[in-house]
């Protein structure tokens, strides 16, 4: 549904190959925006599809970009992997202007992908997709024993948490000491 092209930069986005489908031919021409992730692949997305994302919707609502300006200024999401952004864009396009069903079975099954997707969706503030993802994450541990839950969700023990906290404090202390020493050296 979305169009993508590899290897372009945010300053000079590539011309998308296809236009996104719309459910019915709109009477008023639909406006499009462009987004790219870490991999710089630009995705052309309709304003209707982007309405799912509270973050992007808020960004574009007052911009009033022309088609040319939108093409020239794609929204950069450097913290989101390209394939994850592709998934998000696909989902937004699929659910454009449609009521969201109670379940979504098209979410990634690999936990690593799902983790990145959850982070991206939370960042982009796509409420319905976030709910689906959270339900899927909750289902991972359904009927499991506490130790299995610990394993699946990588939950450290209290002792491990305390050790990690101590380590972080030590590191922070060292860094602070290093900065003080550097500042003293500069002053000399």
């Amino acid at each position: 549904m979305s169009s993508t092209e590899q290897g372009t930069s945010s300053a000079a986005p590539a011309e998308p190959t296809t236009a996104p489908e719309s459910a019915a031919a709109p009477e008023v021409p639909e406006s499009f925006y462009y987004v790219h992730g870490k991999d710089k692949v630009v995705h052309k997305v309709s304003a209707g599809a982007l309405q799912h994302s509270a973050l992007i919707h808020g960004m574009i609502s007052n911009l009033g970009y022309t088609e040319e300006q939108a093409k020239a200024n794609p929204f950069p999401f450097e913290n989101i992997d390209g394939d994850i952004l592709q998934m998000v864009v696909d989902w937004c396009n699929q659910h454009k202007g449609k009521p969201t069903p109670p379940e979504d079975t098209n979410l990634p099954k690999q936990k690593e992908k799902l983790f990145d997707l959850v982070l991206a969706v939370n960042y982009l503030e796509i409420k319905e997709l976030l709910t689906y993802c959270c339900k899927q994450v909750a289902m991972m541990v359904k009927g499991k024993s506490p130790e299995e839950i610990r394993e699946i969700w990588m939950i450290p023990t209290d002792a491990e948490d305390e050790a990690a906290e101590k380590e972080a404090k030590k590191r922070a202390g060292k860094e602070a000491a290093g900065e003080t020493a550097a500042a003293a050296g500069d002053a000399k």
């Binding site: 690593e112 959850v118 982070l119 009927g143 969700w153 209290d158």
Partner: protein, 353 residues
Amino acid sequence: MKDGGVDRFPLLRLPENVKLLIVKHMDLHDAFKLSFLSKRAMHLLQQRNLRENYVEVKVTSSICIEGQCWIWDPPTCIRYEIKFPEYDNRKHFLDSKNLNPRCQIFSSGTNYEICPAFKIKRGGYGFEDYLNHCLTLTKAQNVDILTFQREVQNLEEFRRIIPKIWKLKILDMFPDNSIQDVLRLFVPNVLQIDREYANIEHHLISNLDRVMTAFPWNLTLDNLLSMNARDIEMTVDQFSAIDLNRFLKLWMKGSNRRLKHLELKIRNSPKLEKGRIWKGIKYEVQPDKLMRYFRYARTATNGGFDIKRKDGTLAIINTDEHTFFNIITNNKHQILYVVMYVALLFTHSTLTY
């Protein structure tokens, strides 16, 4: 994120709002299990606003923490039992750490479900920690029910761990030599004693909300008059019609002012004679179709005999061939301002054991 071929999901690295949303979508019994994994996991669960129905500690051949908690959204309730098999093997059980109790969860929401039992392995956790965990999880202040069937090792220490209870249950197998210590150390609102105890009257004069006894106690009129509980349910050996008559007369003059409900199951008594019970008492008979509901006793009563105390409190007495007595009192002053009923119930039944 893959480690040794196992696909994992680092839940705690997610932003706080997402973690909470995930926990909200978990089944309550899974969430309960999660709470035992670490302090951080427990912190997540605490924000789900679990509510408790009760937390009970049972001392039988082992020690068990039992409880029921629920959430509104979606409406779900779980009952859990955490049993400590180590109790029998360890002399200093209450001081022991690294206990691995066995937990069973029964959940009811859209479906009733018995989840498979599992072991909890929480490093450094002893009995007190597990109990506090259950209380903290549901924001409960105290243990609601403490049940003794067997003697507990180190009762003083047990009292320190459980300083306040609402109900104390002493079951029939509890040893005689410890009952006094238990009653001295634990002061409940509700006392239930299912075994014989000769000195019980010393403990019944305190301001209990409710007293329940199941052994045939030789109750005297003086005992009954000195009791200060609001609600009394007792199995007694004998209680004559003459004593009943005296009690009613004294109640009408103002004794047992706190009493709202009294039920006596009399085991070895000759048939109560109506004439003796009502001798010298002014009463009014109500028609059977007259039904009155009493909030305190959560019961409705039909018809009955009405008697009045000097302060205006009305007692309604139902009788069924002298085997069932039901007296319900109602303060007329209270009726004027709040619709509140108090109840006083007598039951005489010729029980055979």
